[in-house]
Subunit: 115 residues, 2 copies
C-alpha cells in the first residue's frame, strides 16, 4: 500500500466506493465520473503505479486482472453487446491516478478512435 | 492457427503487414487505419478469438502481452507523453477481427471518454 494513493485508500475502505467485485487480489468499483452507462474500474490490491512498471513477475497478475474483468463484464450484462477495456499511461492519455486501473466501459456503442 | 483468421494470416506472413515487433509468442504491426499518429496492434501468435475466451492457463500470456506492449511503447517513443491501451469485445466496441489484439495508441493527446 502507498500512503498517498487514492486507489489504495479505496481498496482499504478509508475512501468510500461502490463495490462491484472483491477478492484477495483485486477490487472493482464504479467510476465516479462514468464515461458510459457502465463504467467499472478494476485494480490490483497491490500498489503498482503504472502499467509500464509491471515486471515479468507481475505479468500473471495482469493476466488474472483480465479474467476477473471478464467475470465483471458478464455480471454487468455487457457481454451481449460488447464492451471496451482501456488502460491509460501518462498525461496524453489522461492518467490521473498512479495505481494501475483497468477501465471496463459498456452499455452503449463506443466510438472509434477511442478518444 | 485458424484458417480464416485475418490476424493469423498476418502473423504467418501470408497477408503483408508493417512489422513493429516479433518474437515466439507475439507479433505487432501498424494498424492499416490508424486512429492516432502511432497505432500499433500486438497479437498473440496463438489464435484466441476474444478476450473473453482467455482461460486461467492463458492469463500469463495476456500479462506478457503487456510487457511486450510496454517495450513497443518505449521503442515507439510514446512513454514521454503517454499512450492508451485498448481491447474491444463485441459489436458495441467495434470489434472486427476475432483474434485477440491489443491496440497501442499514442502520438497525440487522447480524449475522454475513450470513444
Amino acid at each position: 500500500m502507498s500512503a498517498d494513493c487514492l486507489f489504495c485508500k479505496i481498496v482499504a475502505g478509508t475512501i468510500p466506493s461502490t463495490q462491484v467485485y472483491s477478492d484477495e487480489e483485486f477490487y472493482a468499483f464504479r467510476d465516479i465520473n462514468p464515461g458510459a452507462p457502465t463504467h467499472v474500474l478494476i485494480v490490483p490490491r497491490a500498489h503498482i503505479a503504472n502499467i509500464t512498471d509491471v515486471s515479468a513477475q507481475d505479468a500473471p497478475l495482469v493476466g488474472r486482472m483480465f479474467l476477473r474483468a471478464n467475470e465483471i463484464a458478464e455480471q454487468e450484462g455487457l457481454t451481449k453487446n460488447g464492451f471496451r477495456y482501456v488502460l491509460n499511461y501518462g498525461p496524453w492519455a489522461g492518467q490521473s491516478v498512479f495505481h494501475i486501473h483497468l477501465h471496463i466501459l459498456g452499455g452503449r456503442p463506443m466510438a472509434w478512435p477511442p478518444g
